[in-house]
Amino acid sequence: MELFNIALRGIFIDNMIFAYFLGMCSFLAVSKKVSTAFGLGIAVVFVLTITVPVNWLLQEFVLKEGALAWLDASFASVDLTFLQFIMFIAVIASMVQLVEMVIEKVSPALYGSLGIFLPLIAVNCAILGSSLFMVQRDYTIMEATSFGFGSGVGFFLAIVALAAIREKLKYSNVPGGLKGLGLTMLITGLMGLAFKSFIGIAL
């Protein structure tokens, strides 16, 4: 139940986009068509569900203060926290590469539709952000997995919804300066306001 709750929080209340502004770059750039937004969303869910637990293991058994004690008692005082950023981003970049290769082998059709988005994801703030939040909130590994999945679904929901709205807006007569980015920001604001109504939901 607790796990489900964490996932639900990630999807609706602490939504990556509307509450933390993470992954905005791809959120704005890849939301012109529903089909491409769908592809990117799925890829993000996929990568988040894998990288957050992997980074959890890394944090727990390598980086945390005293984490290396399982190797030898003399390592118990070693604190590698300062390597956190560089290790996390390396893990993310290599996981993305790995996921890309696996998908290419297993399902060429899925690879065809996700192909170009996968490398983009390595530098998506939402991925690194989730890993950093996971450390900050002291999750267990199961909680971390559920949090990663929830955050991914939240991002997926937001980007597909925005793409749908932008497709409809294509035929509207918008003032020149507001076209594109300006209007998208305002719409995102309104969507964020709608998502506020989920605050307080808990199971």
Binding site: C25, C125, L132, G176, G182, G189, G192
Partner: protein, 227 residues
């Protein structure tokens, strides 16, 4: 005799070389000023919005964030530009990420040591400078193909372009949301105690709306239209 010959030779060599460019020539000034308005990383190129909004509730953390990002852009541009001919094309992304991550770690450790309250307030967003698209974007688009000094100037321009936008956003959010500027209670100081604080501005929603309006105003002024 031979010394004279040397001097003549040197003069000849110098004549062949193109005259050295001034430290702040017109072209270089343009490299710095272009990203401020017409090529602004946030409002025109749509980069770096991820971290731009999250820290803009108050002006002080925003200023720290702006300085950190400018530092990281300038020095990652410099380092990548220095080693640009040594980086194999296929692994350049990971090399760039390693350089950026190192610089961000420096910033984060410095904040932790000297400004711990701010470090706590910014929390994960210092780390997220790594994935700030401005940094990556400038490395790919500029530093990989230009000389170190020019790349530094380009980084400086992009950093300032980013800084003034997020400072403007945070100015409006703090003024309307908390009634203060840099923590100084403006409305109480002028005797308007009953100033109604706009809760929406403290909320993430306020950031989207303020930035949307800034983009609108700026693009209307420069006449830039997206297609």
């Amino acid at each position: 005799m031979s010394a004279e010959a040397n001097v003549i030779e040197e003069i000849e060599v110098e004549e062949v070389k193109a005259p050295a460019e001034a430290l702040l020539s017109k072209r270089r000034r343009k490299v710095v000023t272009d990203p401020l308005v017409s090529e602004n990383p946030i409002t025109v190129q749509v980069l770096g919005i991820c971290s731009a909004l999250a820290v803009t509730v108050k002006m002080e953390p925003t200023l720290v964030m702006a300085i950190s990002v400018t530092f990281v852009v300038v020095f990652s541009n410099l380092s990548i530009s220095l080693i640009r001919n040594l980086i194999p094309n296929r692994v350049r992304i990971i090399v760039q990420l390693a350089v950026i991550a190192m610089l961000v770690t420096l910033v984060s450790e410095a904040l932790k040591a000297y400004y711990y309250d701010m470090f706590k307030m910014l929390s994960v967003f210092v780390g997220l400078i790594i994935t700030n698209c401005i940094v990556m974007g400038r490395l790919e688009a500029y530093a990989m193909g230009n000389k170190p000094y020019d790349s530094m100037l380009d980084g400086l321009g992009s950093g300032f372009g980013y800084a003034w936008i997020i400072l403007t956003v945070s100015f409006f959010r703090e003024l309307l949301g908390s009634g203060s500027v840099f923590g100084f209670k403006v409305f109480e100081a002028i005797g308007w105690d009953s100033f109604p604080k706009l809760g929406l501005m403290v909320d993430p929603v306020g950031a989207f709306v303020v930035l949307g309006i800034i983009i609108w105003v700026q693009r209307t002024k420069t006449g830039y239209v997206e297609h």
